[in-house]
């Protein structure tokens, strides 16, 4: 018998420990598409394409990020190959990653994933965009489909800053560039020192012509 069974309390602690120090990530639905903006001083990639219209923003431990990306991409690609790219849907993908995380979390023999993520699907107009949060326990958030979501340790402070900067506007009415500047600004206001921040920024473009909507706009550190 395995002597080292982990109860949920301990697993939660492990997950939170892995998430400690994770940088903020904000995703918002704008006129031009869904943007992912995250502070990222490393070469690790926290935003990624899952399938054509579906993108992922994820924070947490590097190893776990890679595992989650792999699971999502593998599942979407297998489905797309078996049927057709337009048959890869958002909802089943979210449900399956949530149930996978829930299963892992409630299995006392394995350690927990230390990740939080936002999964998003671009629609024909901002009102049709879908943004959902999934946490390491398999909990799904933003079921009311608010136009933006925040993953951050200092969630409340960042939310306040974004609210102030938005004033009477809504993300739905902003261009992608305006929204990105606003989010960058808000994140910068929550930093502890004056060092300039580097960001990773990606977008799911609301374009009719190209099938793959995901585009990288900025990558924290120059890669070459």
């Amino acid at each position: 018998m395995n002597k080292f069974l982990l109860d949920n309390g301990l697993k939660k602690e492990i997950a939170e420990e892995k998430l400690r120090g994770a940088k903020a990530l904000v995703s918002a639905s704008t006129k031009d598409g869904i943007v992912f903006v995250t502070e990222n001083p490393s070469i690790i990639r926290k935003t990624t394409e899952i399938y054509d219209r579906i993108g992922l923003g994820i924070i947490g431990s590097v190893a776990d990020i890679k595992k989650i990306k792999r699971i999502l991409i593998d599942e979407a690609d297998k489905k797309g190959f078996f049927t057709n790219p337009q048959d890869v849907h958002f909802r089943p993908l979210v449900e399956s990653i949530a149930s996978f995380l829930e299963e892992t979390f409630s299995d006392p023999r394995v350690t927990s994933f230390g990740v939080k993520m936002v999964l998003a699907e671009i629609g024909s107009k901002p009102q049709n965009d879908k943004i959902l949060l999934v946490d390491y326990e398999g909990g799904v958030g933003n079921l009311k489909n608010e136009e933006y979501v925040i993953l951050a340790a200092k969630h409340d402070i960042l939310k306040e800053k974004i609210k102030n900067l938005l004033s009477d506007n809504e993300f739905h009415d902003l261009d992608a560039d305006q929204a990105i500047d606003l989010i960058k600004n808000a994140i910068s206001q929550t930093r502890e020192n004056d060092n300039p921040l580097t960001f990773e920024i990606s977008i799911l473009k609301r374009s009719k012509s190209q099938r793959q909507k995901f585009e990288r706009l900025e990558q924290g550190r120059a890669l070459s």
Binding site: I50, K69, R70, D77
Partner: protein
């Protein structure tokens, strides 16, 4: 390493149970000529459009002379297929999906050489079929390089190539290839080769022609007529 290896395996296994007779074997490759040639700043890819339904007959017998044998793999790469159409189409699909999967999981662009190696592995997986007479070959090109890939997955870098049942009739023309051809001369040469391959109805009269330069362009009928000076 192929992500879709199990899918390829299942496909090959399901086809491997068939044993083609000698007559079927000899007929199955008939009806195709594909050509690829380098020119000064790019590559021409040309193909006839005939599909034969298991036999070596002409268009009247098959009724299909409008099959596109050149495929857009991505914005820089084209692929041509010859041999058993069903397997060629599968190879195209597997290649596209493998590339997409690789680029997403690695979050990097895949090199042209990398794409060619994936295709060589896919065709290698198909080799049990080739040995039973269900052979499929391919040409993969970007604007700088042409690879011809044989039915066992062999990959050869070439400057010019013609393959398919029309090869014996068109190869003399393709052998006239020289370095630094203009785009127009390269297209003319490819068309001449396809035309010669029509002998004995080895190849259909319809043609599909693309050039890969800064971007991929289809050579329209009007443009082709202009290049050939009114003759087609």
């Amino acid at each position: 390493m192929l992500f879709y290896k199990n899918q390829i395996k299942a496909y090959v296994e399901s086809l491997s149970s068939h044993n083609l007779t000698q007559t079927e074997n000899s007929n199955i490759l008939h009806g195709t000529t594909i050509v690829a040639l380098k020119y000064k700043s790019g590559v021409v890819m040309a193909a006839d459009m005939r599909v034969t339904l298991g036999g070596g007959g002409g268009a009247s017998e098959t009724g299909l002379d409008s099959f596109e044998k050149i495929f857009l793999i991505d914005e820089k790469v084209l692929m041509e297929i010859a041999g058993l159409a069903a397997i060629g189409l599968q190879a195209v699909r597997f290649l596209k999906f493998e590339i997409k999967h690789w680029e997403k999981t690695e979050e990097e662009k895949l090199s042209f050489e990398g794409k060619a190696n994936i295709l060589s592995q896919i065709l290698g997986q198909f080799s049990p079929l080739a040995l039973k007479g269900m052979a499929t070959v391919a040409i993969l090109a970007n604007k700088e390089q042409i690879y011809w890939l044989d039915e066992l997955g062999g990959k050869y870098s070439v400057n010019n190539w013609i393959i398919g049942s029309g090869r014996p009739y068109g190869v003399a023309e393709v052998d006239k290839w020289k370095k630094d051809l203009t785009r127009k001369d390269a297209v003319k040469l490819a068309v001449k080769a396809l035309k010669n391959a029509e002998i004995n109805q080895q190849t259909g009269p319809n043609r599909l022609i693309y050039t890969i330069g800064e971007k991929i362009q289809k050579v329209s009928k009007t443009e082709l007529n202009r290049m050939l000076g009114g003759k087609s």
